[in-house]
């Protein structure tokens, strides 16, 4: 009996002692750095804020190339249709981006416990020159909805092609050709206009066209344009079409260029 007790006692002691001493992953180690002598303390993160002014560490290949400065402009990214997954890439290239909410309103959903109201925001982002993005988000607070919609808009950024109505003098000022965009039942048609006409459109699409940098344009719309979301999206799709249209000046042969990844992988391999 005594022997058995003696045998049991050391086994119990070991198990009790074990959790106290061991650290590492799985037991939840504390910052061992603090105990070591002569080590610099880790940077204190402070209270965590959403987003905030923290430095951007890129997570995608494209992000890494952009941060290293290897890609000179957004047009390279658009040329090869590379999806933009990090909105900081857009911030890096376009410093003067303006954000403007176009529609802010409550939307409701029926639940077993009554109605749940959230706010939905449609935000248009543009540099008044040749880039435009449209984003939307619904959230419990208006400010949260605006925040999410801005990020969404930056990820949906597109280039806008401009052209001339008649004589090709000075800078392009209008849509290159008649383009149309549709969403739901709404059809929006953009027609080139002579210089000085201004934008002839409803308030909603006028804002979008202004931020895209188009100075003169006639528009025709059809369908239930009172549904703001569809009207905005239809205008946005119409602007997207400008670069999809094959005009005669694009008939010439173009040289095959290597994608930024191929071009810079050789440069990166040379680092090894």
């Amino acid at each position: 009996m005594a022997e058995q007790e003696q045998q049991q006692a050391p086994a119990v002691e070991q198990e009790q002692a074990a959790p106290v001493e061991k650290k590492g992953f799985g037991r939840g180690g504390r910052g061992q750095r603090e105990r070591r002598e002569g080590g610099a303390p880790r940077q204190n993160r402070g209270p965590r804020r959403f987003g905030g002014e923290q430095e951007w560490t890129p997570l995608t290949k494209l992000g890494r190339l952009v941060k290293a400065g290897k890609i000179k402009s957004l047009e390279t990214i658009f040329q090869f249709s590379i999806p933009i997954k990090e909105y900081q890439i857009v911030d890096h290239f376009l410093k003067n981006l303006k954000e403007e909410p176009l529609a802010l309103g409550p939307v409701q959903k029926q639940t077993c416990a009554g109605q749940r109201t959230r706010f939905k925001a449609y935000v248009v982002v543009g540099d008044n020159h040749q880039h435009i993005g449209l984003g939307w988000k619904s959230a419990k607070e208006v400010q949260g909805a605006i925040k999410g919609a801005v990020i969404n808009a930056k990820l949906n950024l597109i280039p806008v092609r401009k052209g001339y109505w008649g004589n090709k003098i000075a800078q392009p000022h209008t849509v290159p050709c008649k383009v149309t965009g549709k969403e739901g039942s709404v059809r929006v048609r953009l027609v080139p206009a002579p210089r000085g006409t201004g934008i002839v459109a409803a308030i909603t699409s006028k804002k979008v066209l202004q931020m895209a940098g188009i100075q003169d344009c006639y528009t025709q719309s059809k369908g239930s344009t009172r549904t703001r979301s569809n009207f905005l999206k239809a205008t946005f799709h119409a602007l997207k079409e400008t670069y999809n249209f094959l005009t005669p000046d694009l008939w010439g042969h173009t040289k095959l260029e290597s994608t930024p990844f191929q071009e810079h992988s050789e440069y990166l391999a040379a680092l090894k």
């Binding site: 590492g24 799985g26 997954k85 939307v107 549904t227």
Partner: protein, 354 residues
């Protein structure tokens, strides 16, 4: 097993002396691996595609509360060959364990070093409360333009700064332009953004909240990994050859490790997910036990050799031994889910008719 209420996060810290630590065994990256047994007892680790020797990315000390696994070390190896880098088999993970405190034997094979120019780094840990983690996850889903924000939840938005957005909102309210009737905004909640990768936005958010963290550890049967992207999320169904249990998620290695080692710049994956046997079996007397690792990449060119794409679903499953019955069961479950969704859609349409 890890306490379910904690998630452990690992950072890289530069150090000169790796062995001068309070742990029994080291956790570190980039250097000669410290094996628990003499390395002559097993073959050097080679890539299955090209046959070259693989480099050690990191090793971590992950003990468990079990006697036979109280000294347990996990090694992650990868192959830097360019042709292999587009393939899942360019990464391999191994586990070594012992009951008593082992002797640390440093490998003499210099081919294991990943980046000879850099020094070695120690992996320093920080604990995160799982509830805080869940709350941050909900805040992220609420504020980022993901598609996951359909459920009702109480979100705590104390820590969020809205300065910029407040300005924008005030400008909008003050603007003297004609505003169309706000109530005309359609009551449709669901506006799908098809090309936005919601999982990636949440992943990016967590990497900015805990900047530069490399390892995210939560060894539990119910723990969910932080996926890198929406696409190609796998259903890992590999089983331990000894106890036949399904392997569970142990930890993940994030993309941020690439900032430390320029040799890794060309790699295609976004994050590595390591799955291991829940009871940490000693399989057949082997010294180095291989576990499952999944390299997550959102590019279509990236290949995983054991992948089986089920045409009915978007999920990709990694499994070697799967019987037909299980496949049928899964298909039935998916069909049931689809039927339930159809019924919900029909009900929504009925409500609109009022």
């Amino acid at each position: 097993m890890n306490n379910k209420e904690e998630i452990v996060i690992g950072y890289l810290e530069q150090t000169d002396d790796i062995l001068n630590i309070d742990d029994e065994l080291p956790s570190y990256a980039n250097g000669l691996p410290y094996f628990l047994e003499n390395e002559d007892k097993f073959e050097s680790i080679k890539c299955q595609q090209c046959g070259n020797q693989m480099k050690m990315l990191l090793q971590i000390y992950a003990p468990l509360n079990k006697k036979h696994a109280s000294f347990r070390e996990i090694y992650v190896f990868l192959c830097l060959n360019e042709q292999c880098s587009k393939n899942n088999s360019s990464v391999r993970v191994f586990r070594m364990q012992s009951q008593q405190k082992p002797q640390l034997l440093q490998s003499k094979n210099k081919e294991y070093i990943l980046s000879p120019q850099n020094k070695s780094f120690i992996i320093d840990t920080e604990i995160i409360n799982a509830k805080e983690n869940n709350n941050e996850l909900q805040v992220a889903e609420e504020l980022l333009p993901t598609n996951f924000d359909d459920e009702d939840k109480d979100v705590d938005l104390k820590n969020v700064k809205f300065d910029n957005e407040n300005k924008i909102y005030e400008n909008y309210l003050k603007s003297t332009e004609e505003k169309e009737d706000i109530n005309e905004l359609d009551g449709l909640e669901k506006d799908q953004q098809n090309n936005i990768d919601g999982c990636f936005l949440i992943y990016q958010h967590f990497l900015t909240q805990y900047p530069n963290h490399i390892v995210r550890y939560c060894f539990d049967s119910q723990s969910k990994p932080l996926w890198f992207s929406d696409k190609k999320q796998p259903q890992i169904e590999s089983k331990c050859p000894h106890c036949k249990k399904n392997k569970i998620f142990e930890f993940q290695i994030n993309n941020s490790i690439l900032t430390y080692f320029p040799e890794l710049y060309n790699l295609e994956w976004g994050a590595l997910y390591i799955y291991s046997c829940p009871s940490s079996c000693q399989v057949g007397g082997q010294i180095l036990i291989e576990e499952t690792i999944y390299a997550h990449s959102d590019e279509q060119e990236f290949i995983s050799p054991n992948l089986k794409v089920d045409p009915n679903t978007k999920l990709v499953s990694i499994n070697t031994n799967k019987s037909n019955k299980q496949k049928q069961q899964i298909q039935q479950q998916q069909q049931q889910q689809q039927q339930i969704q159809q019924k919900i859609d029909e009900k929504d349409e009925e409500d609109d008719d009022w």
